[in-house]
Amino acid sequence: MQIKDDHYTRLLQGLAYTVIILGSLACLIPFLLIISASLTANESIIKDGYHLIPAQFSVEGYKTVFTFPDEVLRAYGVTLFTTVTGTLLGLFFMTMAGYVLARKDFKYRNTFSFYIYFTTLFGGGLVPWYIMITKYLHLTDSYGALIFPGLMTPFLIILMKNFIRSAVPEELFESAKIDGAGDFKIYWRIVLQLSMPGIATVSLFLALAYWNDWFSSSLFINDPHKYQLQFHLYNVINSAAFIANMGAGTGVSLGSDLPTESTKMAMAIVVTGPILFLYPFIQRYFVKGLTIGAVKG
């Protein structure tokens, strides 16, 4: 019996390891390919294709990226700024909203909940959204256009509300009140302290959304100095593709140097690099927050 058990355990372990190894290889190899391509001479990429080990070593790609490091660095700055500000502000607003909606003694709780819930089902669509932000809020070319749209995500508010409702017993509000705490104090000192896992979850979602955002830049930003990182990268690659493909029928000249394959790859590495190094260190907190959040919420 004992031996048989061991046998199965070992089989399971072997299987698990194989799956994990295959899985991580599937994730790693494309990335290695990008690293390798970024270190290959451009002509060699076009002629021989991509290889795991550079066929013709060259750092030309990185040289091109760093000819104007200010562009990349500025885009970094913008993304960092919007991510940090957006996440902090968003957290504040959403936990507030969640807390208010979780309080059973708030009279218009259902009306507001429905109002928020309704927007997850029916949206005005792209054009009204665009008109709202450009014509009424006048946010074209401002950081506001990058930050505001993400501040009150209905889904995250509902998540927060449910989390607070389950994590903070209602009796706590009353007892705190008896002890002389005001509504804001209850929110700040009690609700926030008790819903840390929920906050971690929401902040993960928020931060990722801000870090990966490129669409807001694409729509609302005309000034290249305010491009977000992802959009900057996307745009460089797209312009090259556009000019190369559309040029045939339009007479657009290829006069200026287009980024080559190796430059594109080098740029991808430069852009993803820091978050890659950062992620393993923060990741464990995220995992904890997500699991606790999942179990309780």
């Binding site: 006048h138 074209t140 506001g144 312009s239 394959e261």
Partner: protein, 537 residues
């Protein structure tokens, strides 16, 4: 007790809302403060700035134009593509002059090439105050004009830009008309974007191959390449089969331009419309492509190739291109001359084979004033300056002389390299206000000019780009048909299908299901109306 807490939470919520709106306000102010951006292009903003400048510059605007320039305005200029790095410097210089002469400043906005068509649509449909926007056949000038997105400038021209009206030939004004009205200022620079064979002359000489002049000689050339240079691709191709094989083939067969939905119209007989799809002519094309694929000219994975068309040629992987326009051929030639001087690239324009070449149609490059413009008069007057005033024109096309470029023996020369220079030639994408009288060319452009001169001898006007298709009645069918094309026609056109007849039959059947007949009838009706209206025979 319960009621009280309820009210308090409400207070908290309103505080939050207030804080939010406060922040929104900050953002807005910031924005208009640091870049004087047109977000506040309402009259209030204009008044403020007008008041501020009135005292300092005291209206130095001369009354040479027949328009009222007493109020200072900021023009919103929308361009396609990416802004050059030195744009702020150029914009300041332009504004110094424009402020004095027109009492107006201008802000150049760029859409970037990413999702530009969606953004273009939003800009025009959201009713933002825009004063000038780029137009071209490929940005659907005609359909936007038809739908009322632009302002008709017929009456405005003699008043705001009389010189410009005289400068642009009458025939061009006529050609850009949509429903009898002018909606765009066309560009007067004549260029050819017609195709031609691009091939390696050194290899041709080395193996004694024929000069590619038509389909037969091109095929013989590629045969020779496959035999002698087995490692090379005989022609450069990528997944954009429609543009890189099919339309080039039909251009060589004297079809007028890239017609949609399998419509066929020949240059010699523009009033005869037929269905190219399913015709013997198309079968001939598909057979040719099948033969080319069998001979190894078209790679098996062609639908997955994402390289640009030029890179394989400039890196020596491919020996030719089925077709490209003279300007881009020249760019490639220049590139090769620095990286591989021992190679030789040559070009034979299709015009020499077909017997005619068409310069670009006037709607190919232009600027329109959107309906939402607050200052159409000033915008047009400013645009006149861009085209006809040498200082404005050269500043916006080439940058600052001495800093961005120099002129040597009448040739344009970039200072430094395009990576270190913040404003390369035509860096602002101002193709539409090119003025042939002020244009400076790179020495390498002589090659293109030589080709243009040759094509000039056989030029015939392109009468057909003025056609404005109105697909509102068959929008759904159009979308469905595009899917069918991608799935069933592209493999046929790439010579990847074994049985052509059967493949074509399947495609035609699916296309009919998608509503091909309805589209073709409607399109033919519109086309006939167009040729009748323009008196084309």
């Amino acid at each position: 007790m319960k009621k009280k807490t309820g009210r308090r939470s409400l207070v908290t919520l309103t505080t939050a809302a207030l804080a939010l709106s406060l922040l929104a306000g900050c953002g807005g102010n910031n924005n208009s403060g640091n870049s004087a951006n047109g977000a506040n292009s309402g009259t209030d903003g204009n008044k403020d700035t007008a008041a501020a400048t009135d005292s300092t510059t005291s209206m130095a605007a001369p009354a040479e134009t027949g328009i009222d320039t007493s109020k200072k305005v900021e023009l919103q200029f929308y361009m396609l593509g990416d802004a050059p790095k030195d744009l702020p410097v150029i914009q300041d210089e332009i504004n110094k002059m424009a402020q004095e002469e027109l009492n107006a400043t201008v802000k150049f906005n760029y859409t970037s090439w990413t999702d530009w068509d969606q953004k273009y649509k939003l800009l025009l449909s959201s009713g933002q105050a825009i004063d000038l926007i780029f137009t071209a056949d490929w940005t659907q000038y005609q359909s936007y004009a038809k739908r009322g997105a632009f302002l008709a400038i017929d009456d405005l021209l003699p008043k705001a830009a009389p010189e410009l009206q005289k400068f642009v030939p009458e025939s061009m004004w006529e050609d850009v008309k949509v429903d009898g009205k002018i909606y765009t200022v066309p560009a007067t620079y004549k260029e050819y974007v017609t195709n031609g064979f691009v091939y390696r002359e050194d290899l041709r000489k080395k193996y004694d191959l024929p000069v590619p002049k038509d389909l037969a000689s091109y095929e013989a050339y590629m045969d020779g390449i496959v035999k002698n240079e087995p490692d090379m691709m005989p022609m450069s191709l990528n997944s954009d089969i429609g543009n890189n094989l099919h339309y080039i083939y039909t251009e060589l067969n004297k079809m007028i331009g890239a017609l949609p939905y399998g419509m066929g119209v020949k240059y010699e007989s523009p009033t005869t419309v037929y269905s190219y799809w399913g015709s013997d002519e198309q079968k001939e094309e598909l057979k040719t492509m099948k033969r080319w694929a069998d001979k190894g000219f078209i790679p098996k994975n062609v639908l997955n190739i994402k390289d640009t068309m030029q890179d394989p040629v400039t890196s020596g992987k491919a020996a030719s291109m089925f077709g490209d326009n003279p300007t881009r051929y020249n760019d490639m030639k220049m590139k090769i001359s620095t990286t591989h001087p021992e190679w030789e690239l040559a070009y034979s324009p299709f015009g020499l084979t077909t017997g005619y070449a068409t310069p670009v149609h006037p709607i190919h490059n232009g600027f329109a004033i959107p309906k939402s413009s607050k200052n159409p008069e000033r915008a047009l007057a400013f645009y006149e300056k861009l085209v006809l005033d040498k200082r404005y024109n050269q500043l916006t096309q080439y940058g600052i002389e001495g800093k961005n470029y120099t002129v040597e023996d009448g040739y344009y020369k970039l200072v430094g390299t395009s990576a270190s220079n913040g404003f390369s030639r035509e860096g602002m994408n101002g193709w539409a206000w090119r003025n042939p009288e002020f244009m400076l060319f790179d020495k390498g452009f002589d090659g293109v000019k030589a080709i243009f001169d040759e094509l000039d001898k056989i030029q015939k006007p392109d009468l057909f780009l003025g056609f404005a298709e109105d697909y509102s009645s068959y929008q759904a069918e159009k979308a469905a048909l595009e899917q069918v094309e991608k799935q069933y026609l592209f493999p046929l056109e790439a010579g990847l299908v074994e049985d052509i007849d059967k493949g074509l039959e399947t495609f035609m059947q699916k296309a009919k299901q998608a509503g091909l007949e309805k589209i073709q009838t409607e399109w033919t009706k519109q086309w006939n109306a167009y040729v009748a209206e323009k008196g084309i025979k």
